[in-house]
């Protein structure tokens, strides 16, 4: 067992039950994500990418197996503890609806810090700094609906990294973006990864994004089909 693994899974299973139907979404996934890794998970639709990210992010509970974050098993945690863990240790970028429409870009970015109880001035300072790094500081006082999709996703990345999480999980962050904007967003995440040593794991359909990552985990039918180090 590597000591530098941020996240590790052991025989991870997820079976969705809807009525009488059972859908096995993950079927025994063993995985280690190293610190500072920039990893993509790819695979056909329905292969279990989103399910894996949700389980890793503590947004849902596995049917079987275990997830370790910083060596600590997550299945022991209560719902409230899990929420606390998401707040302090994990950054999220979703495919869409990442931002609260009633808060400005700056307030959205500072929101997790506010939830963490970071003092007002301090959290605004940190939020402003990260927005500047991502080149969206000029939108700081705008409301999200005034921004383009790509700009909104940049703000979402800013919000995900601002609290220095152990890992940022991004589920198809570029799904709604055109190719150029998608590549820009991945480059931006890559920069955050390099400059802040933030660990990233994102799911994607888009094969063109894969030459920018350290490692690609291919999922098929809820299993890891291939796990390739690109660089």
């Amino acid at each position: 067992m590597s000591t530098s693994a941020v996240m590790r899974t052991e025989d991870l299973w997820k079976i969705y039950r809807t009525g009488t139907a059972e859908t096995p979404a993950l079927r025994g996934v063993d995985l280690e994500i190293e610190e500072r890794e920039f990893t993509a998970t790819a695979g056909p639709s329905g292969s279990g990418k989103s399910t894996l990210l949700h389980l890793l992010g503590g947004l849902d509970r596995p049917t079987g197996g275990e997830i370790y974050l910083d060596g600590q098993p997550m299945s022991d945690l209560s719902k409230d503890k899990l929420a606390q863990l998401r707040l302090t240790r994990i950054g999220f970028v979703f495919q869409a609806y990442n931002l609260l429409p009633v808060l400005t870009v700056l307030e959205n970015t500072a929101f997790v810090l506010e939830l963490q109880g970071v003092p007002y001035r301090e959290r605004l300072r940190r939020a402003r700094a990260i927005l500047a790094e991502l080149g969206v500081e000029k939108y700081a006082d705008q409301f999200p609906n005034r921004l383009s999709g790509g700009e909104q996703q940049r703000v979402a990345v800013a919000r995900a990294v601002v609290s220095d999480p152990a890992i940022v999980l991004a589920d198809e962050p570029t799904a709604n973006l055109d190719t150029k904007t998608s590549l820009d967003l991945i480059d931006l995440m890559r920069r955050m990864n390099e400059e802040h040593n933030t660990t990233f794991l994102f799911a994607t359909h888009d094969m063109r994004l894969l030459d920018r990552v350290d490692r690609v985990i291919y999922l098929e039918d809820g299993r890891i089909a291939r796990d390739e180090r690109v660089r």
């Binding site: 609260l100 429409p101 997790v112």
Partner: protein, 411 residues
């Protein structure tokens, strides 16, 4: 808090609706309580001022008394005992006798009320109610009749009335007295039956120099039914001080109808208030629930990011709290303002049958309003509390959403 305010601004129409749901009940309650307060005070004043007083010392009735008020043959011992009790603002001795009033071939059963004119002056409106002739003067004869009785007997000021005493505990007395004045009674039955005379005149009818039926008292610091505890304390002391053969009756026993009405009014107001609160609460619950539903996805995001359930509850309660406080304050202010405006114009005068009814009941035909700060605060505070409580259930539901399911929610 910032998030809460932003959401309130985002959906202004719903915010306004919720605000009104809190404001309107408070507004109406303040107005209704204001009316009830003034009404109660008016009734209490009418009941206790005109004849009854806050309480009366009377003789304990015997078998011979029948329907009349028992006779105190010599109340000097009771008066001596009364002088020792603190807190008595005023007292007067009265002799109330059932009698027959005759003029020519017309006669009516009446009550002759012997009073000390210079004593009743400050607390009885009798002198102000004279509509013809003059009021009583101590030591001088003559009687005052109500306008109804004057009409029934066909007498005017200056005519003579024959009165036949009919108290079962006294020897029969008969007097002939001139009508020196006609008064307008607050209540028609009184005007038909009560004949006022100087105490000395009435005593002739009872054929006694010292007899009385009541020592009427008013207690210092008693101005409305809410001062009943003060009254009760003084009455208790008085009972202990009086010699045997006397009893003390307070206004609730002397005019039980008024006391009963007041007793009904309070729970009735409470029920109306409860209905208002419930309706306001339901509207708040509904609007907050809708607003929670509408932003399910946003709540999902907030929960995904790791907000605690308590935090989400607080966020929604903060919204409701702002609405509750602003709405309740608004309701209280507009309600009190309305009362002040109405009073500045001298109250709401009734007309026609309603005015007549109020007069029959012995009350003023002008409706007055009076705001009681305690009640206004209670109405506003209770409604605000109900509103926040009503928001609690949707808030709790919001906090228990499954983050991922909530984020998938489409509206």
């Amino acid at each position: 808090m910032k998030v809460a305010l932003r959401y309130l601004v985002r959906n202004r129409r719903r915010t306004l609706l919720t605000l009104l749901a809190v404001l309107i009940p408070v507004y109406f309650l303040v107005f209704m309580f204001g009316f009830a307060n003034a009404n109660l005070r008016d009734m209490f004043e009418t009941a206790t001022r005109f004849d009854t007083g806050h309480a009366q010392i009377r003789a304990v009735p015997t078998k011979a008394t029948g329907a009349a008020i028992p006779l105190m043959r010599d109340p000097s011992d009771a008066l001596a005992a009364l002088a020792e009790v603190k807190g008595i603002e005023w007292r007067t001795v009265r002799l109330d006798l059932p009698a027959l009033a005759s003029v020519g071939d017309r006669s009516r059963a009446v009550h002759v009320q012997g009073v000390v004119p210079e004593e009743i002056g400050p607390v009885s409106a009798l002198a102000d109610r004279i509509i013809a002739g003059s009021s009583l003067t101590a030591g001088e004869g003559g009687v005052l009749v109500g306008e109804e009785l004057a009409h029934l007997l066909g007498v005017e000021v200056g005519d003579e009335v024959v009165l036949l005493g009919a108290h079962p505990e006294t020897a029969l007395g008969a007097i002939r007295e001139p009508v020196i004045g006609v008064y307008r009674a607050p209540e028609a039955t009184l005007g038909r039956t009560v004949v006022y005379a100087d105490l000395a005149t009435a005593r002739q009818l009872a054929r006694s120099e010292v007899a009385a039926t009541a020592i009427v008292i008013r207690v210092a610091g008693v101005a409305s039914p809410r001062d009943q505890t003060t009254l009760n304390r003084v009455v208790r002391e008085l009972r202990a001080a009086l010699p045997a053969g006397y009893e003390v009756k307070d206004w609730t026993e002397l005019v039980p109808m008024v006391a009963t009405y007041m007793g009904i009014l309070t729970p009735a107001l409470a029920i109306v208030a409860g209905i208002f609160f419930a309706l306001g609460g339901l509207v708040v619950l509904n609007t907050i629930y809708l607003s929670v539903l509408e932003r399910t996805r946003e709540l999902g995001l907030i929960l995904s990011l790791g907000a605690s359930r308590g935090r989400v509850v607080k966020m929604i309660l903060a919204e409701a709290g702002v609405l509750a406080v602003v709405g309740a304050l608004g309701g209280a202010l507009t309600g009190v303002a309305l009362i002040l405006v109405v009073e500045a114009f001298g109250g709401i005068p009734l007309w026609g049958a309603a005015a007549e009814f109020m007069r029959e009941m012995g009350m003023s035909s002008v409706l007055h309003l009076s705001a009681d700060p305690g009640q206004v605060a209670l109405a506003a505070g209770a409604m605000a509390a109900v509103a926040v409580l009503a928001a609690w259930w949707p808030a709790r539901r919001a906090s228990r959403l499954e983050p991922m399911e909530a984020m998938r929610y489409v509206d």
